[in-house]
Symmetry: C2
Subunit: 343 residues, 2 copies
């Protein structure tokens, strides 16, 4: 029996075209049922126009659209027929097994929290971004769901990311680091100092504070930070990578010899570009909610959408939520951990 994966067709800067194209790719690559949620006529005419089979997809009408800059809470409350709310309802009713959206991140987080509820023991959801690094993927949590983190939120992020990495990315005992302004345990505000203590006593592979210059090094599997800092860090990395790569190429083009060099290196550079392309990694699982929700980049192209579906597929059949709940409850009942919380 195949799973049902719902995709928000109305969300994202290049919706609906890039989303539908991504769904077509996903349908081809994964043997699952794809549910397209959006403006029905629009979806049908797009599929028709591009000679895609309507039978390949289940289409669910969601005539309303939450714009990228709308207030999350208000839009989720008002627009009951938006793709995000309709998708989350289907997931809640277990009519679909996972929901992928590249739409308004705040609205996705908000509706997931309200409708799916949080996993038992978890207090805040966190967006766990799969960041391409020099050596494999680092999971950065949180990158924007929660910009006002208490120690317990950050602590849970570390536990959840660790469980996710182990179950879905198949690495035993992944390392966990705390993004901070220095390696010493005394660095940062009180919140971070407390989280450092918690991680130190918890049965996790905690490798201590991680300086931001290490973000892309791949030296840490799960990188914990609050949503504000994570969002800033991520966007700086994205922006820098783009600017440096462009400037690099411009620098090469400055004279004839350089142009020849560039021409000769083209194939290698394209391969390199692919390796650091966020689209190759696509979605970011929203951890902590009781259901499989994948948040895609607003700028997602079809490849990124397909890979967001891949991230959903990775979670299916893994019993992630139960494992997270169990792990959090186990760890938080540890006497050392409880002592730090009550201190």
């Amino acid at each position: 029996m195949s799973y049902k994966i719902a995709i928000d067709v109305s969300g994202g800067d290049s919706a609906p075209a890039a989303i539908i194209e991504g769904a077509v790719l996903a349908k081809k690559e994964f043997n699952e049922d794809i549910v397209l949620i959006g403006i029905e006529n629009e979806i049908k005419s797009y599929l028709d126009k591009h000679n895609y089979s309507l039978n390949d997809f289940i289409i669910v009408d969601a005539p309303e659209k939450i714009e990228m800059d709308e207030s999350p809470l208000l839009s989720v409350r008002k627009k009951k027929k938006s793709s995000i709310v309709v998708g989350m309802d289907l997931l809640k009713q277990k009519k679909v097994d996972a929901f992928v959206s590249c739409g308004n991140t705040g609205a996705v987080v908000c509706s997931a929290t309200i409708k799916l509820r949080l996993i038992e023991g978890v207090e805040r959801p966190g967006i766990a971004l799969m960041l391409p690094t020099k050596r494999g993927v680092s999971l950065v949590i949180d990158v924007g769901a929660n910009i006002d983190c208490k120690p317990i939120h950050l602590f849970h992020y570390g536990i959840m990311a660790s469980v996710y990495y182990e179950l879905c990315l198949n690495k035993k005992n992944p390392s966990v680091g705390l993004l901070n302004i220095g390696e010493e345990a005394s660095k940062g505000l009180g919140v971070l100092k407390k989280v450092h203590k918690l991680f130190t006593v918890a049965p996790l592979n905690f490798i201590g504070n991680l300086e931001a210059k290490e973000l892309l090094s791949g030296n840490c599997d799960c990188i914990v930070c609050d949503g504000f800092v994570g969002n800033i860090a991520l966007k700086v990395a994205e922006g820098s990578a783009e600017i440096i790569a462009k400037s690099f190429i411009e620098a090469m083009k400055k004279n004839f010899i350089g142009k020849v060099g560039l021409f000769l290196s083209k194939k290698n550079l394209l391969e390199f570009k692919r390796s650091i392309n966020y689209a190759e990694y696509g979605g970011a699982p929203l951890l902590g909610v009781d259901g499989i929700v994948i948040i895609g980049h607003g700028r997602s192209n079809s490849l990124a959408v397909k890979n967001a579906v891949k991230a959903a597929v990775r979670e299916l059949n893994r019993d992630l939520t139960k494992s997270i709940s169990r792990r959090i409850n186990d760890i938080c009942q540890d006497s050392g951990v409880r002592e730090i919380f009550t201190a």
Copy 2:
């Protein structure tokens, strides 16, 4: 008459060699008196060994050394004969006109605040880093002096950076932006929302919230953020630039054709590397204290040290502290600004 610029010879990862070499470069380039503060014997034997004239420098003995990972407050209190404390004392007594240190940043900020005191009206000092961007230099304030910012601190940072940019980097009415997780005024925590309001009514060229992906774009002259976020953003940018550039070259080297391409492009790439080299920009002025203090990168090489001295030279004769004090008092007495503070 020439100015006296003091350099902390004991601070920085490559001290004392890189610092003394930087001082030699600075002595050659700027017609100022250079005061070397550090372990006297060490300095003298270095100069001697490398055939530099002892007469070119004034040497002040500071036998103690504050290590990079020492607690700022404790080390400043205990090590009265450290290069940082001795240098700050000389600046306070107006025996030197500026002080440059690549040592323990926290200790420099701490001793500057205690000894020099803050400019009238200013509540917290801020480190204003000169960041090389795609188009000229952006001043990012704060990058690590103050990790727990109130709205008034961030507001003052914007004013101080604006005055600095105008007086020392010679640009009328420089733009000011607030680093945030989105462009809308409603983004971020309450502190940032309040600062956004303050900037909106103040007579500054405020261009609104700035997303982190814009950090290296050069689209904003003065970028305001708290010291934690600034430090993270900066180090991500630094780390990403390094990793991307290295990976780029590795990608080119993957086969023979690529290697030829790389060889042909070498000159252009070296020029590019120079353009994004932090050492070309060197020091970060510590704004808000009543004196000229330049903080250099811990990893400073001789070029970075020379350019930190250049940053000090830029401030001499500019009446920066008086202008900052006047501007802050003028702006904070504005009725619109006062209304927001009392709201």
